[in-house]
């Protein structure tokens, strides 16, 4: 009986595999499951501590305001594998929701399996990175252009934008989505960029245990009533030793506001130069953009090259390592912090309070192609 079933099953299995890998296979043509009324992406009310008066961190440009229909289109594009040359890779292949839209692998792989130089950054509260520069080396000056670059990368998605426009232009689903988002059914390159940028800007995390406690605390420095003693100790340590960079001006999106050299390049002139490789400013060799610390618990491994497998290893870098980078001190003039084991545990306990489970499972941000 088993033998009788095995033959047909194998044939079916091969057929399904071939269909999935084929550029014109059914996997590439699936219709997204979208709600009849679009999810709400625009005008989401953030807690007061994320919108302090007098601070405008929002990098949304005037010509691309966030709309529900625009972000809906962006969501479908974000998960559509037809944006890659062989229909195997979407933005979400490396930007995984459960990992705060970071790549859980140390270095991201492209559509042919080739390794890229770095790992895909987390996409958390990107809208509130005031400098509005993107990638680890900040080579992209606006989000609308940035989102189109991985599609065209020979390693990442290998696709010609004209081909994307042509493919999507023949899909009735996109005709409707583009019309809703931009008023006309035609698919254009700039509008692909705008829609993707809107979706990325909608990825805002604000419902962590930190936010819950913060809502009832007078300042971020006060103990939070929903934290354990260890978490409050960790918060106090963070405020004293880390907040000058990660919470500049009390910014609770937890971005370092400019690229920083934290000694990752060491004394190796052949190592990734980060921002310096783009600006060619000698003092910027070894500087990298830092992602928001929100959801840092799930964005391992850490660093542009994923060299730190865990939060423990990451904190060890700042705590114990002799850092040899000649450019160190340009942005982070601190020596090894020499945390005790107990302090490290408290810091990690605090960092885990920044995890926002709602964000990580929010259906508004999930794969619409899942049946």
């Amino acid at each position: 009986m088993t033998r009788i079933l095995c033959g047909p099953l194998l044939v079916l299995s091969f057929a399904l595999t071939a269909a999935a890998l084929s550029p014109s296979g059914p996997a590439a043509r699936r219709t997204p499951n979208l709600p009849a009324t679009p999810y709400r992406y625009a005008n989401v009310a953030l807690p007061a501590h994320l919108t302090p008066p007098g601070q405008n961190l929002d990098n949304t440009p005037a010509d691309n305001p966030l709309t529900d229909d625009g972000a809906t289109l962006g969501r479908v594009l974000f998960y559509d594998k037809r944006l890659s040359a062989n229909n195997t890779t979407s933005c979400a292949s490396c930007h995984v929701q459960a990992h705060a839209f970071a790549d859980p692998k140390p270095v991201s792989r492209g559509f042919h399996g080739a390794l890229t130089d770095r790992r895909a950054m987390p996409l958390v509260n990107v809208r509130y990175y005031q400098r509005a520069r993107f990638f680890w080396d900040e080579r992209a000056g606006n989000l609308e252009d940035m989102v189109l670059l991985p599609i065209q990368s020979r390693i990442e998605m290998g696709q010609d934008l004209k081909q994307v426009v042509d493919t999507l232009g023949r899909d009735k689903t996109y005709e409707v989505l583009f019309k809703r988002a931009f008023g006309a059914p035609q698919v254009t390159e700039p509008q692909i960029g705008k829609a993707l940028a809107q979706f990325v800007r909608s990825l805002v995390s604000y419902r962590s245990r930190y936010d819950d406690g913060r809502a009832r605390a007078r300042t971020a420095h006060d103990d939070f009533d929903n934290f354990t003693l260890q978490e409050n100790r960790g918060k106090a340590l963070f405020m004293r030793n880390c907040s000058a960079c990660h919470m500049k001006d009390g910014n609770e999106h937890f971005f370092v506001p400019t690229p920083a050299n934290t000694g990752l390049r060491g004394n190796d002139p052949s190592a990734d130069g980060g921002v310096g490789d783009v600006t060619l400013r000698p003092m910027e060799l070894g500087s990298f953009k830092s992602p928001s610390l929100r959801n840092v618990e799930v964005t391992a491994p850490y660093g542009h090259d994923g060299r730190f497998a865990s939060l423990d290893k990451l904190i060890d870098h700042y705590s114990d390592n002799a850092i040899l980078d000649p450019n160190l001190g340009y942005m982070v003039p601190v020596g090894p912090l020499k945390f005790t084991t107990s302090e490290k545990a408290a810091l990690i306990a605090f960092l885990k309070t920044l995890t926002d489970r709602t964000f990580l499972t929010d259906p508004r941000f999930s794969n619409p192609f899942v049946e």
């Binding site: 060619l280 400013r281 003092m283 001190g329």
Partner: protein
Amino acid sequence: MRSVTRTMLTTGAMLMGVVAVAAQPPQGVRPAVLITEMPVASVPGPARSPQAVIDRVLSFDANADHRVSRDELPERMQGLVARGDRNADAALDSDEIRALMKAGSTPPTRVSFRSQSMEGLRGVVSDLRLPQAKHVRALVLVSGPVVNRVPDSALLGEMKALLDDEEYENFVAAATRLSRNPQIRGGVVGGIVKGEFRRPE
């Protein structure tokens, strides 16, 4: 002139910081942040020389023709060729790299970050989140005419007697970090000087 302005701004902000400290209730003390512009050229080193950057870019010259073509560069750096290729040979030589560096030589206005405590050892004790009675006793021990004093052997002995092993270890670690920061050691109260961010070109 610019440095004078900067000094005035810094001083003004520091004074504002003093006023702010004076106005704070005792239970509301918290770390201040001193943010100052750091003169980029003040830290010398071979990695900061223009030649280091030229060598860095030419290190991708796989065929050793003393030029680096678009295909020889990693994708993330290929934009350099479009920006700097003056003779339209689809590659960069050392002169073109140097010209690119010159074009981008205006240093961005950057900020550096230093955190410091206004409470000295009192802040260290506060961070330990000790039980109330122990907290009060520890505060008494570290208080004195010099707020930011470095713990001496007598104080360390008293703290060791008061705290359990883990608490004491954390106290010593935090006090050591505090004492390594010269600004804190000098008892300087910080203010905030806002830096300007360079907007995207």
